[in-house]
Symmetry: C2
Subunit: 337 residues, 2 copies
DNA sequence: AAAAAAATTTCAAGTACTTGAATTGCCCGG
DNA sequence: CCGGGCAATTCAAGTACTTGAAATTTTTTT
C-alpha cells in the first residue's frame, strides 16, 4: 500500500535503526525516554499501522477464519454470519469469505484459496450440490480445524453446529396432527442435509401417527425453477388437496400463503401452514406464521467459539468430532387451524 | 499453519535449494527437466500452496478489498454484496469484511484494521450513526481508493455508486398523486443519506403538486424502538389518517401492511402503499407491492468495477470523485388504489 | 585520565518467496 | 590436461518486523 509508513522509514526520519523503532513503539525499557518520545510522535503523525502479514509469517497464525458461504441474500445464513462475526471480532479474528455459488471450479479450489491465505480454521456452510470426491479428499488433508454449520451426515467426522432439524419437523407435524389435521403435505428441500433431516422428521411423525405420506403432496424445491410458488399453486388448485403444509422454511410458507391467497383459500380455515426458522417475516406476515424457532445467531456464536477453542488447543481432529445440536421450539401463531 | 509445506521444505526433500524449487514450479527453462519433474511431483504430493502474504509483501498489493458492512441480515445490502463479490472474485480479489455495528470504538478503528491488513481499496456501506470528526480525518488520509455505496452528500469528495433515491421517491409520490390521492404520509429513515434523499423526493413531489406535508403523518424509523410497526399502527388508528403511505423500503411497507391488516384497513381500497427496493418480498406479498425497483446486484458490480479501475490506474483521489447514480423504476402492482 | 559499569543502540537471523547475478559442474576441443 | 562455453544450480538482497546478543556510547568510579 502506498504511503503506509514502515519501521524502516520511521527509523530514517528519526535517525535510528528500525529495531530501535520497533522497541520504542513497544515501550521497551532499553530505549531512552527522549528517543522513545521522538519515535512515537513520528509514528502517530504518520499513523503507523503494523503490517499484519508480517505477524502472520512470524507466528504462523493469520488470525483469519475462512468461511465458505452460499449467498449473501439469505436471511437465515445472514443471522448465523452475524453471530459468527460477533464472536470472532471479540477474539481479534477476521474472516475470509468465499461464496460457493460464485466459484467456477471444484470445491477444492476454495480450499486451496483458504490455504494460500493461511486461514487458521474453516467454517463451512452447506454447498447446494454434491461434493466431488477430490474435494472430500482435500478436506481430509486440510491441516487446520474445520467446522460444519447446519450440515451433518451419518458418520460425519467433522465438528458440527446446527439446529435439531429432525425434531423440529417432527414437532411441527405432530402439532398439526394433534389439531386434528391428517391431510398433510410437505414442501422439502433435498439438496441440503438440513432439508433431508426435516423431511425425515415429517415422515417419522406421520408414520408414528398411522398416517401415510402421499407422494403427490410432496414438493421438493430442488425441482423448482426459481421459487416453489408454481408447484404449490398447482398442488393447492387440485380438488384433492392437502389441508395442511409443513414447509421447509418460512420463505416457502410465505410462498404457500401467496398461492393460497391467489386461489382464495383461507388460512388457517382451509389451509394450515407451518414454517421453519422463525425469521422476521414469520411474525410480520398476516396471519402470523406458526413456525419452528431456530437460533441462528446462537448457532453462529457457538460455531465460532468451538472453532476458536479447537484452534487454541491445537489438537487437530484427532479427538473425534464435536456435534452441537441447538434445540428448536415450536412457536404457535395463527396459521394453523 | 501447521503442515503447510514451504519451498524450503520441498527443497530439503528434493536435495535442492529453495530458489531452484521456486523456478521449477514456474517452469523456468533454467531448471533441468528431470529436476523439475521431481520437484513438481513432491509439490503436488504435499499440495503446495504459495503463501499469499509473501506476495503481498513483495508487490505491495494484498489483492484484498476492505468492506465496511452493516449487518448480514439485510436483504438489500446482501444483494449488493453478491454483486461486489461476483466482480471481485472474477478479478482475483478477496474481501475483508468488518461490521459497523460490531465495533466498539470509533469508525477510525475500522480504518486502522483495514490499514494493518493492507487492503488495496475500500468499499464503505453507510454506517447508521454520525461519523466522528476523527474518523473523517482518518478517511481523508487513507492512502488507497475509497468508494461509498448508497451514501452521498453535498460536496462528497469520494467515489460513489448508489440508486437515484430522490427520483425514486419523487416518482412514487407523484404516482399516488396522479391516482387522485392527496392525503399522503411518509415513513422515512433519517439516519442514512439514502433515507434523507428519499424524503427530499417525497417533499418535492408534494410541494410541486401543491400539497402540504403533514408533520404528524411523518414517521422516522430512527425514532422507533425495534420496527416501525407500532408507530404506523398508531398513525393508522387515528380518525384523521392518511390514505396512502410512501415507505422508506419494502420492509417498512410490509410492516404497514401488517398494521393495516390488524386494523382491518383494506389495501389498496382504504390504504395505498408504496415501497422501495423491489426485494423478493414485494412481489411475493399479497396484495403485491407497488414499489420502486432498485438494482442492488448491479450497484455492487459497478462499485467493485469502479474501485478496481481506480486501483489499477493508481491515480489516487486527485482526479475528482466519480458519482455513479443507478436509475430506478416504478413497478406498479396492486397496493395502490 | 583510565578503567569499569551502565545505558543505549545496532546487528543478525529468522519468517516465505522472487529474481538477477554469481558460481559450480560438466563436456569438448586444442 | 586445462580453459572455453554452456547448462544447471545456488547466492544474495529485498519485502516488514521481532528479539536476543553484540557493539557502541555515555556515565560513574577510582
Amino acid at each position: 500500500m502506498y504511503g503506509v509508513i514502515s519501521l524502516k522509514k520511521i527509523g530514517r526520519l528519526c535517525g535510528v535503526s528500525e529495531s530501535t523503532v520497533s522497541k520504542a513503539l513497544k515501550d521497551h525499557p532499553q530505549v531512552k525516554a527522549a528517543t522513545r518520545e521522538r519515535i512515537q510522535m513520528v509514528a502517530r503523525k504518520y499513523n503507523y499501522q503494523p503490517n499484519a502479514m508480517v505477524e502472520c509469517m512470524q507466528t504462523g497464525r493469520s488470525k483469519t477464519i475462512g468461511i465458505a458461504y452460499n449467498k449473501f441474500n439469505d436471511m437465515f445464513a445472514g443471522q448465523v454470519m452475524q453471530g459468527i462475526h460477533q464472536t470472532l471480532y471479540r477474539n481479534g479474528y477476521e474472516t475470509l469469505i468465499i461464496c460457493w455459488d460464485l466459484i467456477v471450479g471444484d470445491g477444492a479450489d476454495v480450499l486451496n484459496k483458504f490455504s494460500r491465505r493461511r486461514v487458521d480454521g474453516l467454517l463451512l456452510f452447506p454447498m447446494e450440490k454434491l461434493p466431488s470426491p477430490y474435494y472430500l479428499e482435500q478436506l481430509q488433508s486440510f491441516h487446520n480445524p474445520i467446522l460444519m454449520i447446519d450440515q451433518t451426515w451419518a458418520g460425519n467426522e467433522y465438528d458440527f453446529v446446527g439446529s435439531d432439524d429432525q425434531a423440529g419437523a417432527f414437532q411441527a407435524t405432530e402439532h398439526l396432527i394433534r389439531r386434528g389435521l391428517s391431510k398433510i403435505g410437505n414442501v422439502c428441500y433435498g439438496a441440503v442435509s438440513s432439508g433431508i433431516e426435516r423431511r425425515k422428521g415429517f415422515e417419522t411423525a406421520m408414520s408414528e401417527n398411522g398416517l401415510t405420506v402421499r407422494q403427490d403432496w410432496l414438493i421438493d424445491i430442488t425441482d423448482c425453477l426459481e421459487t416453489p410458488y408454481q408447484k404449490i399453486y398447482e398442488l393447492l388448485r387440485a380438488e384433492d388437496r392437502p389441508e395442511a403444509l409443513v414447509c421447509f422454511n418460512d420463505t416457502c410458507a410465505f410462498e404457500a400463503a401467496a398461492a393460497a391467497y391467489d386461489l382464495d383459500i383461507k388460512i388457517p380455515q382451509q389451509l394450515s401452514l407451518i414454517g421453519f426458522g422463525d425469521l422476521d417475516i414469520a411474525s410480520k406476515m398476516r396471519p402470523r406464521l406458526t413456525t419452528v424457532h431456530q437460533s441462528p445467531e446462537l448457532i453462529g456464536r457457538k460455531a465460532a467459539q468451538l472453532l476458536l477453542d479447537k484452534i487454541s488447543r491445537k489438537e487437530g481432529r484427532k479427538a473425534g468430532p464435536e456435534h452441537c445440536v441447538v434445540p428448536v421450539e415450536l412457536i404457535e401463531r395463527e396459521s394453523v387451524r
